[in-house]
Symmetry: C2
Subunit: 464 residues, 2 copies
């Protein structure tokens, strides 16, 4: 059986990337259902672990479980790291402790800790004590998953400052098989105190008999174990680091974070922000169960319902005005939609600036002032258009309605834009993720303010 | 004068990171205004380029221009790369071509191309022909900034397959000063055809007299020059690469992309998505001028106004119904807000899945079905709560209003949730960024659908 055709050029397929397309998944699924063990492994044998994980994700749970059981240990171990949490639970559910131990032993300690974190306590405790690196993995499990300690690995090459480069290179060789990514060697003094860092490039440049102490960089950047992983990502990104040491409270080096872990953090945090902004749980995954999804979203919908109920009661409070002029009801969606849009626009840029560090708390005054100017410009344009629409369509008592709507629009745009810029700063000050500023809560608040403004103007200007 | 106190522990300050806080900026600003050249350089001399760029960004344009002019060439060159586009334009505006050339010559070719891209054509053309790497930089300028060619650097270490590792290590040494980040050596055959890749670690492991051909990895991953940079980022992320070769249409290697560039791409694309979702231009920066911000946001506000106008005209079309029962107006915000919230929730997860590759076009059927089930569950809960509210507050003709609102809520939540999940797939199929699904356009569409459903039910069930 041939590997199915893909949309990629042959030159790229040769290079190890294979698009896991629908035909390929279908072929594998048929073979799995027919228990064609050998043929399946033939198709999957030279897949990159990331591609193989994607394939498993697109098979049924039962099929994925079968394929995972057939995989050689080395491949199974690599693919384990790449699976999503849900997929991992599925393939590991009935795995024997003996095989699980072999698979986890082949992982770096940070990946091993991640896998154990995702297992049930009973399953994890059945494996942990018998691992090769039980101590290291247990140490990692102690740290908060969202902290530097939670994403670091315990594997790194360290040498004393007195060693010559020749010895250091020997040390790198000795660790070459058990540590995948070696970018730097860490020079540790007494009590594992980190004194310097040497890159592999540095090792190649200086004479082999030089002591490492004379070559190492002493102005390295390190982070404490309890630093938030988002902050860790920002530091590695800002200073273009591929590997960074993590130190404990006594200054002793306890682990190392590599750039690939941080890339995942950046992606996850961005997804989390987008979900928070859109009223999701922040952790919803495409393969979550229906109940889980529903439970994650419902709280936000309830907040939204409560808020919209308040908006409704503002309208209810002006029922008399509405009875006098039903035409006023037509503009309710304009007031709420435009306030919401303007607020989200100004909130987005404030959230982004606060998250990247381009904005800081001290910028709040200048920021609000600038947003007010933008809002005045846009508000005038929108108010003018609304007035023109009233004239063109001859709605209600034309001049009075135009005046009312123009004044409402200008006020609402300015208030909402200012609010949108203010709330992220306020949330940050309160220690809440500024991204929440763009969620349903604030939009609802703007609806209430906007409708109140509208009906006050309507009562005083239009009906007054 | 002492360096101002910072909030960081001394142990961290020693390590090269300094928080650029308000006091520090203020101290520098005062010294700059007093033209205290030497004192300013004293304060800035051991700042990391990224921190120095942040400092310049927080000074006034005039102050930043002065400080930049005072900086030694090496530091000025490093900081140039870290500035935002607007800041860069400010500090470069009146710079003499001779100094500009020196600064740009010190950069890697990819950074040089970025800087030239941001300058006016006249300024760029005044410098380009006299650079040391004129040809390489000119080649890079030809590529789309959003493509692999646009983010790659032309600097890399390459060797013929016949060389021994000893020679290869010599080649790395020879390039160590002009290429900052060397992670791998590329083995090129005839016509620069890429035949294999060796990591620095590999170089240290095998005997020095082995030919590189026997050590190199032939199953490397490479990308073509015209691949979209977001796709490039996804590949480097997926396969955990720190450096990746870029090949032209003949298979010849033309450049190399490093992970730090890709980290920036991931961050920028995430920010762009968030802005597009929130109805911004996608490229707004906190330091843009008021006019630019206003111009970027106004189109979306106009789309929103037009859409809200349509929603308003739906209400206008049911003016008779509203005259009969003004109580119906109270629920307009509930209908629009809940539809919008539900749609954005389901759109967020579809956008995220499509962007990460966890979802693909073939998943559309299963996705929609799942979302409908979630919507039914949540819709029933919300409908029930709304009915209870009608009874509790004794609104309108209680049983009929409860029936109308319950039916509306269930229909609206199901339609909006389905819409939200569908639109990202449709946009992707049309070649439009799925993130637009969460912008004002779709929210508005949902408002119109929701209000139409509401007033049809109101006319038939409540008033019928």
């Amino acid at each position: 059986m041939n590997r199915p055709a893909t949309t990629e050029a042959p030159s790229q397929r040769r290079l190890g990337m294979l698009e896991i397309d629908a035909d390929f998944v279908e072929d594998v699924a048929v073979l799995v259902d027919a228990d064609q063990h050998g043929m399946v492994l033939n198709l999957t044998s030279d897949l990159h672990p990331a591609d193989l994980a994607q394939l498993l994700g697109r098979l049924s749970e039962e099929q994925a479980y079968k394929v995972f059981a057939w995989l050689p240990d080395a491949q199974a171990s690599d693919v384990l790291v790449e699976l999503t949490d849900g997929q991992r639970t599925a393939v590991l559910q009935d795995l024997q402790a003996a095989r699980l131990r072999v698979l986890i032993d082949a992982l770096d300690t940070d990946d091993a800790a991640d896998v154990l974190n995702d297992m049930s306590d009973a399953q994890a405790l059945g494996v942990l004590p018998d691992l090769e690196d039980t101590h290291d993995v247990a140490v990692l499990l102690e740290y908060d998953e969202e902290s530097a300690g939670g994403i670091m690995a315990r594997e790194f090459v360290s040498v004393p400052p007195t060693w010559t480069l020749e010895h250091v290179i020997e040390a790198v060789r000795a660790h070459a098989t058990d540590i995948d990514d070696i970018y730097s060697v860490f020079v540790l003094g007494d009590n594992d105190r980190l004194e310097g860092v040497v890159s592999l490039k540095d090792l190649m440049l200086a004479p082999a008999e030089d002591p490492v102490r004379t070559v190492m960089h002493e102005d390295f950047i390190s982070v404490p174990t309890d630093m938030d992983r988002e902050e860790v990502a920002r530091i590695m990104e800002r200073y273009d680091l591929v590997s960074m040491p993590v130190v404990d409270s006594t200054g002793g080096m306890v682990g190392r974070i590599t750039i690939d872990d941080v890339v995942d953090v950046i992606r996850e945090e961005a997804e989390e922000d987008i979900q928070i902004m859109s009223g999701g749980s922040g952790i919803e995954q495409p393969d979550d169960t229906v109940w889980r999804v529903s439970r994650g979203r419902l709280p936000w919908l309830l907040v939204g319902l409560f808020g919209a109920g308040l908006s409704g009661s503002v309208i209810g409070g002006f029922e008399v005005a509405l009875e006098q002029a039903v035409v006023l009801a037509m503009f309710i969606p304009i007031v709420t939609a435009m306030g919401g849009n303007a607020a989200v626009q100004s909130a987005a840029i404030a959230v982004q600036g606060l998250s990247s560090g381009d904005l800081w708390m001290g910028d709040i005054g200048a920021r609000i002032l600038k947003e007010m100017v933008v809002a005045l410009i846009n508000g005038v344009v929108l108010a003018a258009l609304l007035c023109i629409a009233v004239f063109v369509f001859q709605l209600g008592d034309v001049p009075l309605l135009a005046l009312t709507l123009g004044a409402t629009m200008l006020t609402v745009i300015v208030l909402a834009t200012t609010n949108g810029a203010l709330v992220p700063f306020a949330l940050k000050w309160l220690g809440i993720d500024p991204a929440s500023a763009m969620g349903p809560f604030v939009t609802t608040l703007n609806d209430i303010i906007g409708l109140t403004v509208y009906f006050i103007y309507a009562t005083t200007l239009y009906l007054g």
